[in-house]
Amino acid sequence: MINRVVKNAEEALKGVKDNQTIMFGGFGLCGIPENCINQMIKMGTKGITAISNNAGVDDFGLGLLLQTKQIKKMISSYVGENEEFERQMLSGELEVELIPQGTLATRCLAAAYGMPVIYTPAGVGTEVAIGKEVRKFKYNGQEKEYLMEAAFEADFAIVKAWKGDTAGNLIFKSTARNFNPMMAMAGKITVAEVEQLVPAGELDPDQIHTPGIYVHRIFQGSHYEKRIEQRTVRKKN
């Protein structure tokens, strides 16, 4: 067993420098690496190119790193629910590259699986296609056009899992899984914070979502707020 444990977020983020590309797991506020985001604020790392499906809200998640203006560029699929984001984007302070959600996921998968490019039909005929190779392929008996999209290159991937073991194996809970497994596999250096860190041997090898070979540093986070963005409920009758 190769031990991947580090003490805390500080140790986990050693080597993060200004002007790097960093992936952040999570969908909305669900499954985001809260401890590492807080640590990034402490560190004051600047000029971040953030690959993340969303940008958090004004006062939580990646929104915090927008408030401190540590993010230079966002590569995301959906960035609503964030006024500060909108202000920085419209004023030109923040660079934004919007790409389809499936393209974002699959460009992570491409990096994870050593595929330099993938083809997707998402965005054909739209402004997303500008400057990209368009090529016809047959799939499922249908010929149509596809865009060539490149694997991401990220200096760090920072993800949040539910359980992890000392070998770096990760298990995600419910829809907090989202982008976390692919990003975990896509970083040059992958940092995972987990709610529960257990000794190697406690997790069922058949039930690992992300094998430890992809995870370079793992630690048990603390004080998870797990804020809910849209609390929707029904009444018992």
């Binding site: 969908f27 909305g28 506020l29 669900c30 499954g31 499906n53 995301s76 699929s77 959906y78 960035v79 609503g80 629910e81 909108e86 984007m89 934004v96 919007l98 790409i99 389809p100 959600q101 499936g102 393209t103 974002l104 996921a105 699959t106 992570c108 998968l109 997707t120 039909p121 998402a122 965005g123 054909v124 005929g125 739209t126 402004e127 997303v128 499922n140 539910w162 995600f172 809970k173 419910s174 829809t175 907090a176 899984r177 989202n178 982008f179 976390n180 497994p181 692919m182 979502h209 797990k226 804020r227 809910i228 963005e229 849209q230 609390r231 929707t232 409920v233 029904r234 009444k235 018992k236």
Partner: protein, 218 residues
């Protein structure tokens, strides 16, 4: 004229037994409320759920269990959770039978715009571009006329596109339209109390009046 629930109710009639269905944010989400109880249908949420259930009871919300609209939801028996790569994988592989989503504009050749108003609003496309590029059957749920009184069924979309030649059917507060392969909105049903004349006024794109136009039964 239909309200939002009316539009959702009408669209629910397009949902058939054994279908896997993806519902977008807004009116499409309401469709789930009108699927007959005996029918076997599974909802896919593109953040990684198959077999999505209704909102949780008060006090049972789980921050780790949300839908693509970031709302707290529940899981039904037989559900499964997966990552975003697999989620969009199954969308591209056309395993989802029906996609229902909102739009700002739809053109007579089936183009759709629903993610950006230049200079005003740029929330992003989320999963919409993936869905419209791959889904076999796409229905748009929308208001036919915008707040300024302009038709959103157009000869050509003005706003940046989400996808091209992809929409098969549109359901609005006024009627139900099939989009013809050769182009055009073919009116097949009118909403209760709505005349063909009302519809003509509210349709900027090419309108084809079916010989068999009937009033919606909902």
């Amino acid at each position: 004229m239909l309200d939002k629930n009316g539009i959702a109710k009408r669209i629910a009639k397009e949902v058939k037994d054994g279908m896997f269905v993806n519902l977008g944010i807004g009116i499409p989400t309401l469709v789930a409320n009108f699927i007959p109880p005996g029918m076997s249908v599974e909802l896919q949420s593109e953040n990684g759920i198959l077999g999505m259930g209704p909102f949780p009871f008060e006090g049972e919300e789980d921050a780790d269990l949300i839908n693509a609209g970031k709302q707290t939801v529940t899981l039904l028996k037989g559900s499964s959770i997966f990552d975003s790569a697999m989620s969009f994988g199954m969308i591209r592989a056309q395993k989802v039978d029906l996609t229902i989503l909102g739009a700002m504009e739809v053109s007579e050749n089936g183009d759709i715009a629903n993610w950006k108003i230049p200079g005003k609003m740029v929330k992003g496309m989320g999963g919409a571009m993936d869905l419209v590029a791959s889904a076999k059957n796409i229905i748009v749920a929308m208001q036919q006329v915008n707040k300024a009184g302009q038709s959103k069924l157009l000869p050509k979309c003005d706003l940046p596109l989400t996808g091209i030649n992809c929409i098969k059917k549109v359901v609005t507060e006024l009627g139900v339209y099939d989009i013809l392969p050769e182009g055009g909105f073919k009116l097949i049903e009118t909403a209760p109390g709505v005349t063909v004349d009302d519809i003509k006024k509210a349709t900027a794109g090419k309108l084809v009046i079916s010989e068999h136009v009937k009033e919606m039964a909902i």
